[in-house]
């Protein structure tokens, strides 16, 4: 088992760029890209930690795909309603 040698900090640091993009990105599309980075960090952990069964890795990947599908459906509805994906403009329009 390669587990003891896993650099946990590596996976945690992979989360950070995604979280930063999610927090500071003004476009909803960029936020979703950030979200994909966060999910990828978790998936990468499952791929590199070798004893994990392929079933688990596939399940995590499928969950990520489902989330991406639902988020793109919602993104399309937001775009249709506000004609923009810029969060500031959407907030302005909401006011």
């Amino acid at each position: 088992m390669t587990v003891p040698s896993i650099p946990y900090w590596f996976y945690l640091s992979m989360l950070l760029p995604g979280l930063i993009v999610m927090m500071f990105g003004r476009s909803l599309l960029k936020k979703l890209v950030g979200l994909c980075l966060v999910q990828s960090a978790a998936l990468l952990f499952y791929i590199l930690a070798k004893p994990f069964s392929i079933i688990f890795i596939l399940t995590v990947a499928i969950t990520g795909v489902c989330t991406a599908l639902v988020s793109s459906w919602l993104l399309r509805m937001v775009r249709r309603r506000y004609q923009t994906l810029d969060e500031d403009k959407i907030l302005e329009l909401m006011q």
């Binding site: 978790a42 989330t67 639902v70 309603r81």
Partner: protein, 487 residues
């Protein structure tokens, strides 16, 4: 029977999606049928468990430690029965709202609600950390869809919910990955046994931290509550009722199982400061949720912030961590499910009857919708913690737990929660009962409330009264023996 219990909502959801194009009118009976099958199966399982004791099933021919296990004990089976009953009541009660608010999209609503039910039942019954993640995500994806089905600002609220909910799920996933890396298993009971020797390791600490933050995000505890108010306020009324009354409470149960079954009460009380963190999160949520509820005029937003405060109370009970407080938390979860369902469904009835959403314009409500007002008043009294409603027993047990545990600040917070809840509901009562009716603002509906609208609200209120009357025997005779092994 366990397979039927969990699979029937999924099969029902797929059937609804399959027939929605050519038999849209059949979607509703199919959805009702699937929930009824689920309810019958959970009732049968509960009956069996009460005579034979907890049941464990394993399936999947994977390596030892990776086989997925179902654990049915009286607590999980009772909660499975409760959420099936709640789903049935909400489906019935919300029919007019669903028709009015969702129109052609109602088949998607039924499919998403059934996926939600399947996900939640799976979360309740699984004994495996990874399977819990999968069911949690099924429930969460259904929740995003249920919110996104609404009009106006609903899709952007759903997107925000999705962003934060998925971060929570990713943290939970990484957390259980770390636990697996340390213990070599994902079975809850087995992780519990093996984690004892690895408790001091940074990986286990990080795992617990990530799981705690991930589930707190999904629960909407302050300051991780950013998504909750908008999602509940802009979702269709039926969706808000489903999410507030069923989904959030199962998340609390998941948190309880992970903290007390996986890590164990000694570890989370004395070795890792998990319960202290949960107490702080709960306390801040009670105060912040209540203060924000006090500032709201939109009824659904007010109920949403009230949910943050009530879930904070449940988290506080878990944080205190002794037998009485945890029993209070479980009763609080049941009472919150009944009463928040009642409040959001009442909001749906008012919307259907073209009544204003702003609580400041509810001065004619006692004349135009007297039964709905009566149900909302009962729900408010129960959430405040007035006898004979279930909220009184729940708060009483959490208070008792705090006092017996020698924790004076949490005890004071339980009392403060009562006063704050009374404060924001009194604001509504002042407008509804004590202001002079203003004919210009309110619109009088043409018809009075129908018994079909009122009856399910009555059932929910009666449920809370029953919880108030039989809450103590339920706690002492059913919950206490169950928790004795754990706490």
């Amino acid at each position: 029977m366990t397979g039927v219990l969990v699979l029937s909502p999924f099969i029902g959801a797929l059937a609804v999606l399959a027939i929605r194009g050519w038999r849209p009118k059949r979607c509703e009976p199919v959805a009702f049928g699937a929930v009824l099958v689920s309810l019958a199966a959970s009732a049968q399982e509960l009956r069996t468990i009460l005579t034979t004791g907890a049941i464990r099933h394993s399936f999947g021919k994977w390596a030892p430690g990776l086989t997925i296990e179902w654990v049915l004990d009286p607590l999980s089976a009772t909660l499975a029965c409760c959420i099936s009953v709640m789903m049935l009541i909400l489906f019935h009660q919300a029919r007019p709202s669903i028709l009015a608010e969702l129109g052609q999209k109602r088949s998607v609503f039924y499919a998403a609600a059934l996926f939600l039910l399947g996900g939640l039942l799976g979360m309740l019954l699984t004994g495996d950390l990874f399977a819990m993640f999968v069911f949690m995500e099924i429930a969460a994806l259904s929740g995003y869809a249920l919110v996104g089905l609404g009009e106006d600002r609903a899709p952007s609220a759903a997107l925000r919910y999705l962003l934060l909910g998925t971060v929570g799920a990713a943290l939970y996933l990484l957390g259980i990955g770390f636990l697996y890396a340390e213990t070599g298993t994902l079975n809850m009971a087995e992780v519990g046994r093996r984690a004892v020797s690895a408790l001091g390791s940074p990986a286990v600490m990080a795992a617990l931290g990530m799981i705690l933050v991930g589930l707190s995000l999904k629960l909407g505890l302050f300051p991780l509550h950013g998504w909750l108010a908008d999602a509940f306020a802009y979702a269709p009324s039926a969706s808000s009722a489903l999410l507030a009354s069923v989904m959030m409470n199962v998340q609390i149960y998941a948190l309880f199982r992970i903290l007390f079954w996986v890590f164990g009460p000694i570890a989370v009380k004395h070795q890792i400061p998990a319960l202290q963190i949960l107490t702080v999160l709960g306390a801040v949520s009670i105060v912040a949720g209540s203060v924000m509820a006090l500032c709201q005029t939109d009824s659904k937003r007010l109920f949403a912030y009230s949910s943050i405060a009530q879930l904070g109370l449940a988290a506080l009970g878990l944080g205190i961590g002794n037998r009485w407080a945890v029993m209070g938390t479980l009763l609080c979860v049941l009472n919150h499910a009944l009463m928040k369902g009642c409040l959001f469904l009442s909001a749906g009835i008012l919307a259907l009857r073209r009544q204003p959403r702003s609580v400041l314009e509810w001065d004619q409500l006692r004349m135009t919708s007297p039964w709905t007002v009566a149900a909302m008043t009962a729900a408010a009294l129960s959430l405040i913690g007035i006898p004979p409603f279930g909220g009184f027993v729940a708060k009483g047990y959490i208070f008792l737990g705090a006092v017996r545990g020698g924790e004076s600040l949490p005890a004071l917070l339980v009392l403060a929660s009562t006063l704050l809840t009374a404060g924001y509901f009194f604001r509504i009562a002042q407008v509804v009962f004590f202001s002079k009716a203003n004919d210009v603002v309110a619109l009088r509906p043409e018809k009075s409330e129908t018994w079909l609208q009122i009856l399910p609200l009555g059932v929910l209120v009666a449920g809370s009264v029953l919880l108030g009357v039989y809450g103590m025997p339920l706690a002492e005779k059913v919950l206490a023996p169950l928790l004795e092994e754990t706490l």
